[in-house]
Amino acid sequence: MSLVLYYFLTITAIYILMSWGLYLPYRVAHLHFLTVANMLISGYLAGYMVQTLEVPFSVALLAGFAAGGIIGYIVSRFIGDAPTFTVVIVGFTFIYISRTAVENIKAVGATMGMFGLPMVAGSPVMHRWTLLILLYALVVVVGFLIYRFEHSRLGRAASVVFVDKDLATSMGVDIKRLGRLVQTFSSLVAGGCGVIYGFIYRSFHLDFFTFHLVGIFMTVIFVGGYATMWGTVLAAPALYGLSLILPPAVASWRIVIYGAILIAVLVLKPEGLITRRLAHKLETTLSRRRKR
């Protein structure tokens, strides 16, 4: 497999997973930017474990997932049912805090970053295949879990919370518990993504985890469609691919192009390119074909 394709596929998978990590809490009207801080914390933790403590990658990856999940759960105890704005502020604050913490920890390279992370398998080719398979297995598993969530009572409850919290409460939905569940799950996924993200580059630098990432994931969700999980699957490769294929003369207008796409989608199709109705229609058509 060519290197270009490898990087395109792996980073696209990270975008899909991380955008789902924002999408899921957004189902209960939470913009949970804590996930970017989870990426950073778990990534650096795993990097330190593998490089300095010589722990196997698989163990470090699990630790990354766990760290993400634990931090997500602890924070969700306080903001599980908080208003959208509060969740946003907490997320941004955590990004600041975690960046400042890493800047001051020499053991993880501080402002210089971590270099030369070892390969996760014996050769560069095996390293790449391992990460690629791992990532797409994760996409399938996380996608399946989100799909099941969407088609469960919890998913329907989330839809009510998104529209009106009071209504949801009156219908017996435990808003805080639901918020805790989706926030913790998102943080857990983000933790694992942070680990793999660094091992794709085989290095960690604080500027891998900037607010720019928040912008990318938000654009993916709102262009693809914030009401279904499928919009992300469409928008992540399209938007990332677009930035790579733009001719040099147009590339400097990249941000303008993204902005124009986002505005156009928000004006013309406020729910995003893949709406819930469209997703439902496709699912119905597919299931009919299967029955035939």
Binding site: I11, T111, Y201, D207, F208, S252
Partner: protein
């Protein structure tokens, strides 16, 4: 028989003349024998858009200026050279894909720029055994990718202490507080300043951290002045450095020469933000814009023509020199550009650069020793009305 002998002689003469002409061609093409490319293409993994686009522009300008001059003078081994700007937009995600494309065909690459993209993309060049010239970062980053990278600067711990030491000695500074931006190699540079201050017999009272998102500087300056320093070193972003100087002045600081600005602050944003408030302050850097050599004057004139009369910034010469270094490496090693020999020719170029001696840079001559430049000077300047006036040249 005579006829046969004559015919044989004629044939032999013909063969001899053809062989002779061929030989002359070989020796007379100044290393161009066997070159198979019509044009040397050098990709430059640069940040042409995004937060540091203004820096990326003049880095690119420097590289293209070198290519222009080289082509005017006959090219590299007789073939023209072209620098291809490849924009990473400061994004590692884009940097890795672009580097992946480059390693499929290029003999050598310029960049990446800056550190986050270097860290993500340079390992791809290393894995594919291709020299990638990270000419804007410190040795501490570049050395991680040796021998497939070279450093443009000596070790921070070697080059900065003499500059801070001489500043402290020459201006009678005894007690120093330092403003430090927390970014990449800057804390390491700040630590090297402290070594120099101590060598001068001065005291380091402490550091004041400058956050990347700082917009007001009053509290930071009050904190620094609270330590009662008689000298200040500022090692942070150019615009913020200018605002700190302004804040110091507004709080009664008058000994402007006892303020030392570090090299990374030497950018247009420093002068446009600081204006006349910077007058008298000292700044260190690695190029002397007041040199008077035909080559430098031509560069400066061309730069000013293309940039509304602005002085060439300190980093503008780095990739200019890098392109010339590539030219010398190709010509000295007899690289042909044949795609079938890509791997071995990459190695030849890398080896030639790694220990290149007597390299004629735009402003001075230097040697590379195992990827690290030696005998490069540093300079102390005094700022006056937006211009730098040379105070001292310092060599390790």
């Amino acid at each position: 028989m005579n006829k046969k002998m004559l015919s044989l002689l004629a044939v032999l003469l013909l063969i001899a003349s053809i062989v002779g002409a061929g030989g002359q061609g070989d020796s007379g093409s100044s290393g161009g024998a066997g070159v198979v490319v019509e044009e040397w293409e050098i990709p430059f993994l640069n940040s042409l858009t995004g937060a540091i686009a203004s820096i990326g522009e003049y880095l690119q300008w420097g590289a293209e200026r070198a290519a222009f001059e080289i082509n005017e003078a006959g090219g590299i081994a007789g073939k023209p050279v072209k620098v291809i700007g490849v924009d990473t937009a400061l994004e590692p995600q884009k940097g890795v894909v672009e580097m992946s494309k480059i390693v499929e065909w290029a003999l050598v690459a310029l960049g990446p720029v800056p550190e986050p993209v270097i860290m993500a993309a340079a390992p791809i060049a290393v894995e594919n055994e291709m020299m990638t010239m990270t000419a804007t970062t410190s040795l501490e980053y570049a050395e991680k990718f040796f021998p497939w990278s070279i450093s443009w600067f000596p070790a921070t711990a070697d080059r900065l202490p003499p500059l801070a030491r001489d500043w402290a000695k020459d201006y009678g500074v005894k007690k120093v507080v330092q403003f430090v931006g927390i970014y990449g190699p800057w804390p390491g540079m700040a630590a090297a300043h402290v070594v120099g201050i101590k060598e001068a017999g001065a005291q380091h009272l402490g550091d004041v951290e400058v956050p990347q998102d700082a917009v007001t500087f009053g509290p930071l300056v009050v904190k620094a002045l609270g330590m009662n320093p008689d000298g200040i070193i500022i090692a942070c972003w150019p615009d913020k450095a200018a605002k700190i100087v302004q804040e110091l002045k507004s709080r009664g600081w008058t000994d402007m020469e006892k303020i030392l600005l570090f090299s990374s602050a030497d950018d247009a944003a420093l002068y446009t933000t600081g204006g006349a408030d910077l007058n008298g302050t000292i700044i260190y850097n690695y190029i002397n814009v007041d040199q008077d050599t035909p080559r430098w004057n031509a560069f400066k004139e061309a730069y000013q023509k293309d940039h509304n009369g602005l002085q060439p910034p300190s980093l503008s010469t780095n990739y200019y020199d890098a392109v010339y270094m590539i030219k010398r490496a190709i010509e000295e090693t007899g690289v042909t550009g044949d795609p079938k020999k890509l791997k071995e020719e990459r190695k030849l170029i890398a080896e030639a650069m790694f220990n290149m001696k007597n390299f004629e840079g735009l402003l001075f001559k230097w040697d590379m020793s195992d990827g690290v430049p030696t005998n490069k000077p540093g300079y102390l300047f005094q700022i006056q009305d937006g211009r730098k006036k040379l105070v001292k040249e310092i060599r390790n």
